[in-house]
């Protein structure tokens, strides 16, 4: 079987693992089970997730990691050679070379890798996905890849909202999530009319202030409580009723905001009790995941045993590996478009899958795709019309630069979109808060921006890529705002906070899905019921 991999960057270091990874946060230890994982994850997600998908993923979680270890990925062990536990579901790895190790296998298994090729749309035969189209950032060629089955795994969407560090020339991309993951996977699905789920369940997280680095490393790994300016342990003192330190992630995400609003900011994770060797381990963990955080501490001249690490909310992301925004799929990870399978951050319904879960889903999607190939299907011809149209769409910005020499640069449009979303669709500067009127304002201006994309100009292939990044983000943002408008309640305070509907509405105890009409281009939003498989109180772990 021939497998072709389209990669926007280079598979050795692309995406959010570019810097590495320090932990697998979904490893099922002997005393745990798929069911207990569902219960925990369900509670973390406020009681809503696809239990069927979570269970099928759980079955493969450990297999992936254990295989990676045989490929050379170092996993921390305890004295009796067991994986060293870090949190309930977490084990520590030395993953600074993680993607490099995986990439070597990809090449070893003879997969055809097309690095530096940006996928821009699916190739469609009727309603079936029969491959993908894109352009080369290096060679400027237009690529048409025909495939019997297609798997989408491009990761989530960063850069929809303005990060709070975006006030200096060099810190525009101080994000937690990779700024190069722009939600292309969602966008191509939206444009092809795939059904999407739970975009309103945004991922906002407590991150180290300014650097926007991950803190589970600290809080999970080293039991460091979140405290406010008054020195109070926020979660245990203000959120005991919601589980205290074990409170769901959206509560934890919301907490710092509440503290600031209540005048008790800034907020810290208290590292002052840590022992020197713990600090060394902590920094080693960071060096495996986001090395530059260690540089950040050095640049602040900060000794964390004397000065706690300040934390704050990140800008919101759409990332199905943490929350559950993404394609609506079945157990085989088949999307609503025949021939298309989704896994990882683009695949919806399974929150808290993280790296391990994404890998497990990769296996599932691959199996789904293979079985789809074997099932007899008529292979209809691709009409060259769509290819011609796509070529025009893809290179439009270059042509405009050449012909008109004037227009809107991708950067200008990106900044407009990011400020719009930040201020009117509940960005970090608005403490994640939003209401109907502001969302409608955002909607109005997003449609103007989408109209304006025809004025985009690109002076080179890199800018052409940037142009498509903003185009894709606009498509994601549009659907996102529809979802946010639709859920007239506040189910996940940190993630989706409707000040005009502060409470939970039991009628909305379901999935909010959407589909963009490929004809009219208008987004229909609807609901799908919840199916509980694992018994028990869905809000309790």
């Amino acid at each position: 079987m021939k497998v072709t991999l389209l990669e926007k960057a280079h598979i050795d270091r692309s995406g959010c693992l570019a810097g590495g990874m320090d932990a697998i946060n979904t490893y099922i230890k002997p005393n745990e089970s798929a069911e207990s994982l569902v219960r925990w994850s369900r509670a973390q997600a406020g009681g809503i997730l696809r239990e069927d998908l979570t269970l099928s993923m759980a079955a493969l979680l450990n297999q992936a990691v254990e295989e990676w270890e045989t490929w050379g990925l170092p996993v921390k062990k305890d004295e009796d050679e067991e994986y060293l536990a870090r949190g309930r579901w977490d084990i520590t790895i030395r993953g600074s070379e993680m993607k490099v190790i995986l990439a070597e296998k990809v090449r070893e298994y003879g997969c055809e890798v097309l690095n530096r090729v940006v996928a821009t749309n699916y190739l469609l035969g009727g309603d079936r996905v029969t491959g993908a189209m894109g352009f080369g950032v290096r060679d400027g060629k237009f690529y048409v890849v025909r495939a019997g089955a297609t798997i989408i795994a491009t990761g989530g969407a960063a850069g929809l909202y303005k990060p709070y560090t975006n006030d200096g020339v060099d810190s525009h991309h101080q994000l937690w999530y990779s700024p190069f993951n722009v939600g292309t996977g969602y966008a191509v699905g939206i444009r092809a009319g795939a059904e999407m789920t739970s975009f309103e369940m945004r991922w906002c997280a407590v991150r180290t202030k300014d650097f926007n680095g991950p803190i589970d490393t600290i809080s999970v790994g080293y039991k460091t409580p979140m405290i406010n300016a008054k020195g109070e342990k926020i979660l245990s003192e203000h959120y005991a009723h919601l589980g205290g330190d074990a409170a769901p992630r959206y509560i934890r995400a919301n907490a710092p905001m509440e503290e600031w609003l209540a005048g008790r900011g800034p907020v810290y994770v208290d590292t002052r009790h840590m022992k020197p060797e713990q600090v060394k381990d902590l920094k080693t963990d960071y060096l495996n995941e986001r090395p530059s955080f260690v540089l950040f501490l050095a640049a602040r001249g900060q000794d964390v045993t004397e000065e706690p690490i300040e934390v704050y909310g990140s800008d919101p992301y759409i990332v199905g590996g943490h929350t559950m925004s993404g394609y609506w799929v079945d157990r085989s990870r088949a999307t609503t478009l025949p021939g298309l399978f989704a896994c990882g951050d683009v695949c919806g319904g399974v929150p808290n899958k993280f790296v391990g879960g994404c890998a497990a889903e990769g296996l599932l999607a691959a199996r789904g795709a293979v079985s789809y190939l074997s099932s007899p299907e008529e292979r209809d011809q691709v009409d060259d019309g769509q290819i011609k149209a796509e070529v025009e769409r893809v290179f439009a910005a270059l042509l405009r630069q050449a012909r008109e020499g004037d227009g809107v640069t991708p950067r200008e449009m990106e900044e407009r979109m990011q400020r719009l979303m930040d201020e009117y669709a509940g960005g970090v500067h608005q403490f994640y808060r939003m209401n109907r009127e502001r969302l409608e304002y955002a909607q109005k201006h997003l449609s103007i921006l989408k109209e304006q994309t025809k004025y985009l100009i690109a002076r080179d292939l890199h800018e052409l890529m940037e142009a498509h990044e903003v185009i894709d983000r606009l498509d994601v943002a549009e659907v996102l705002v529809h979802h946010l408008l639709f859920r007239q309640e506040t189910r996940w305070p940190g993630w989706q906070n409707r000040v005009d509907f502060p409470g939970v509405d039991e009628k909305l105890d379901c999935f909010v899905n959407s589909r963009r009409d490929t004809g009219t281009g208008e987004v229909q939003v609807f609901t799908r019921p919840y199916e509980q498989i694992v018994p028990g109180d869905r809000t309790k772990p």
């Binding site: 960057a9 280079h10 050795d12 270091r13 692309s14 995406g15 570019a18 810097g19 270890e69 045989t70 050379g72 990925l73 170092p74 030395r94 600074s96 070379e97 190790i101 530096r116 950032v137 290096r138 560090t165 006030d167 200096g168 020339v169 060099d170 810190s171 525009h172 991309h173 101080q174 994000l175 990779s178 700024p179 190069f180 300014d210 650097f211 060394k280 920094k283 080693t284 060096l287 495996n288 986001r290 090395p291 530059s292 260690v294 540089l295 950040f296 501490l297 050095a298 640049a299 602040r300 001249g301 900060q302 890199h462 890529m465």
Partner: protein
Amino acid sequence: MPPRVNTEKCDGCRAQDETLCVLICPGDLMALDTGSGKAYCRSERDCWDCMSCVKSCPHGAIETRLPYQLGYYPAKLIPLVGSNKISWTVVDIHGKVERFTFKTRNDD
């Protein structure tokens, strides 16, 4: 500002069409100046500080600097990359030196 290329040490990977940093950067931000035959960052504002270029450079010619508005001068974080180990040396703004060496790969 993030990736700083030391043009003394950079040899543009012998000015081949694609240097290793150009090849690896997840944001397609590194480029080769065909005039000088040296690598440079085309848009420092867009760097994620993932340090892939720093690790990939065979001559250690690239250094990551945080934007000044986030962190002060002259902190340094410099790797020495081995085949299955890596060592990071970090120097903070007070000149305090810390070194971290760990495995990046099991030698099977």
